[in-house]
Symmetry: C2
Subunit: 355 residues, 2 copies
Amino acid sequence: MPYKAISGIGEFGMIDKIAALAAPTLRAVPELLTGIGDDCAVFQPAAGLLQVSTTDILAEQVHFDLLTTPLQHLGSKAISVNVSDICAMNALPRYALISLAVPASFPIAMIEELYIGMSDAAQKYGLAIAGGDTSSSRSGLVISVTMVGEVAPEQITHRSGAKPGDLLCVTGTIGGAAAGLKLLMREKEIMLNHIENNEPYVKSVIGDMKEYREAIRAQLLPIARIDIVKFFHARNIRPSSMIDISDGLSSDLQHLCQQSKTGALIHENLLPINASTRRIADELQDDALTWALTGGEDYQLLFTLSKEKYQNIAEYKSISVIGEITSQESGVHLCDIYGTDIDMESIRGFDHFSS
Amino acid sequence: MPYKAISGIGEFGMIDKIAALAAPTLRAVPELLTGIGDDCAVFQPAAGLLQVSTTDILAEQVHFDLLTTPLQHLGSKAISVNVSDICAMNALPRYALISLAVPASFPIAMIEELYIGMSDAAQKYGLAIAGGDTSSSRSGLVISVTMVGEVAPEQITHRSGAKPGDLLCVTGTIGGAAAGLKLLMREKEIMLNHIENNEPYVKSVIGDMKEYREAIRAQLLPIARIDIVKFFHARNIRPSSMIDISDGLSSDLQHLCQQSKTGALIHENLLPINASTRRIADELQDDALTWALTGGEDYQLLFTLSKEKYQNIAEYKSISVIGEITSQESGVHLCDIYGTDIDMESIRGFDHFSS
């Protein structure tokens, strides 16, 4: 059989192959309502109750760099990224299982720091750390978090329910996590240069960059939008579709449109990008719009809502309407500040395996 | 703070620290009935139904060696070890989430092989592969499987329910997985020697060792004892306590006794050790009893049952009574074939972080 590396078909090509192999296992379990393809799997343990579950694996040097990532922050982020997937189903998290593969030479104190971050985050979100597994690793730290949440059947929200004419909304701001990552990478380079040249580098990587704090927090300490889900539940709002922005707005919007069999038109001037993100982009001679579209890791929610329901969300400060859902034939487009139409298929998010 | 490596306090020392940090998260979730400390966490999604969940992380060069492990077998084993934890709660598996961290240079065909093994095993056990995550890895393959099962409240079995006087029973045979591992390690050495000396080595590592097949299958393709759980359910048998044998009989029996606050006395001549395991031990000048006590990875069930209920299990061929539960003060002991009493605290199972 000819050799073909994963990098040749990319992450989504691999997921398609995996989903096809998993498909025959679903037949024996009719209570599993949704398998691979949404933010979470959906299982019905009892009438009137749905359970959603998700898992994320974080590998050293791929997802995080211990030189620039305090371990408490890393623990918190490992929890938050899973809570974000649960929120994307309009569900609330209940418990998590955590697996670690750790080099045996790791200091115990570092593992404790990691768990302090996880435990603090879990308490903020109101979920239990229920169990896990620990193993040694021959190579770097690997963290795998699985989370289970619950939602009433009448509240669950999939990627697939958007209809032409629906408003496209995004929570919070986007692009900040990418700005933070760029700053941390620059700081790391400065630090390594100092070390190489035998010059002192005493400043804490994070401590002295107060003006950058917002972006660095977005990268190191994202907060999943459980507040939005609670707001939806309190007001009995059910978005027609929802996804969390982990790969970048461009990629995640396209996932939502593919699953909903729709197109979309968004407007650059409506995108919620922080002033500090724009300043950092200028300083680094980079582009805040690109960060907002493809940077990823913002862990905001992207959702759709029929226009009649707009008044229900208008009061919530942290929600921006960025465009609307169109027909599938129209494709997924961005109208930039000059009025130019950009086909978003040409803009891709992060792919772990792309070469 | 002084440097203290994980290897200095061992796997169980680390788990104690983790459990203490997780404890405050449990308060917000009263439906989580059992957290860290049993084979599974226990969650009550609805009245009359318990959910059990477990996770296992397998790291290349720690848990498996791709030189001696066919990927289909590895996929099957990754599923089976989690099913085994579900079975240890007297529960049946429903769905699994699978995370992989894979070097981008890995051939796609290898990932497909891995998933074929997972999918086949899942279908045999009747569970769904519901979702997962994929990431690149800078260093070796890491597989993390999380599994959720279900059980009625009147059937759930913990590690903690054993009472003095209960019979100690074990399913199947033990020590075979360790025998298989030793054979594979020997074969690998032979293969590497051939390569080093530029001699041809054409035999498949597994193919030609028919006389060793039983042991190698026990190592590479363990089958979780879902048949025993189904037998228990059909006959309305609820063991007083249960654990699966993953670390080795010695270590797992001590876990069961610690949680049950009891001692135990087992008899060497009652231990179910295959004739082929004994032959392999002789051939390798090793000790089958040591393999049975400390080898681990047998994925059999160790359970206790009050003596009056013995007749209920007597007919089931694959269950052996190996001793009985005693008082906590008596400790955990083995009576060997010469009548010598051995304190099992002196016999330890596998610890990922022991130095």
